[in-house]
Amino acid sequence: MEALIHNFFNVEIMYKAKYLLWLGFKVTLQLSFVSLIFAILVGLLLAFVRSFRNRFINVLIIIYVDLFRALPTIILFMLVYFAWPYFGISLPRYWSAVVALTINGAAYFEEIFRAGIEAIDEGQREAARALGLSFPQTMFSVVLPQAIVVVLPPATSNSLELIKTTVLASVIALPELMKQAQQAHGFFANPTPLIAAALIFLAFLWPLVRLVGVLERKYKQA
């Protein structure tokens, strides 16, 4: 028991490492936020383009989506950071991580938004317009309320996955939370910072996990 407290919940080490962990946490937050926005935008754009049903472009989008859903994200991080420089594209660590997370996240978001778009029958829009609703009215009172039911639960769950994936940036030595924790672990020869990092992730993501559960139950069989 004493060994457990000394090694896993060492207050002294915790105190010494808190600044490093705080720095790391800020990077993790920022990385999550920026990548999430890019991934959602790119996913939305792809879903939108796909809804025009141009056969050639759609084949390209399907290949993109399938490819990046099949490829482990850690390989994507390594390709962007270690392989692109040979090709003349040398991105700093932070932007390599953003690019990798965006490419990967957008593939999932495209599928989610597409399902949302396809859920609403074309006829509903036409009917709403024919009844004299303006375009914004049609969008906000007819289309979006229905699309959100389909999109919101998987989009939240996918955002959670994306935030969890930001840890992989530690593999390319970006000083985010996990990397800082590992460095503090090496420096103090005590694994308390690792446990602390795990607890920080838990505190930060648990509400999101619960939220996903609530949304999934609320919009079940929509």
Partner: protein, 231 residues
Amino acid sequence: MNFQDLFYYFFNIRVFIDTLPDLLQGLVVTIEIAALSLILGFVLGLILAVIRVAVKRPRNLLIIRLLNIPIALYVDVLRSIPPLVILIVVYYALPYIGMLIPRFWSAVLTFVVILSAFSEEIFRAGIEAIDRGQIEAARSLGLSYIKTMSYVVIPQAFRIALPPMTSRMIAITKDVSLASVIGVADVLKKARAAQAFLANPTPLFSAALLFTILFLPLVRLSMYLEKKLAE
């Protein structure tokens, strides 16, 4: 940048052929970890789901119903913490309290517990989707609770659980490549070593290619199952 460079660095046939045997060896390790994690993870998840459903029955004593809490906690914790963090804690932190687990088994343990948490949710949703009337009917026909579960409820729940199971299966197998971080000699570790040794990133592309060949059919299958069950 011209095409010659592109082929030299990214799709170098010589490097590809030279490093392929090594990568395939790594692939075997990846598949071993994935297979063990999937089998043990799903079995553990199913057991947890059945326990949780059984424990929550209203006629149980309060003390038994409270058993629900530790399982719910286990599931939530493992779903909140990123897999890489769990892996690093298992491999680097547990030895300090006397639990020295070899790399390979650290990876298997990590993915088994994570998958069990996710599949507990999947199976429980499947079990709870079965109409109560069926359970009551089976019980009144004289089947014991265990028999009702194993002959009536679980086979049907399994069908409902199939699409989320396949997509979770893909997610976990993709996560297996994280094992390279703690030094397991999987595809990615071999590819990184070869890339550093030859100063040529072709092995990384070969690894990506191997993964894609492995997963594309699975991604398609899961989409097909989802569509089929939605009908």
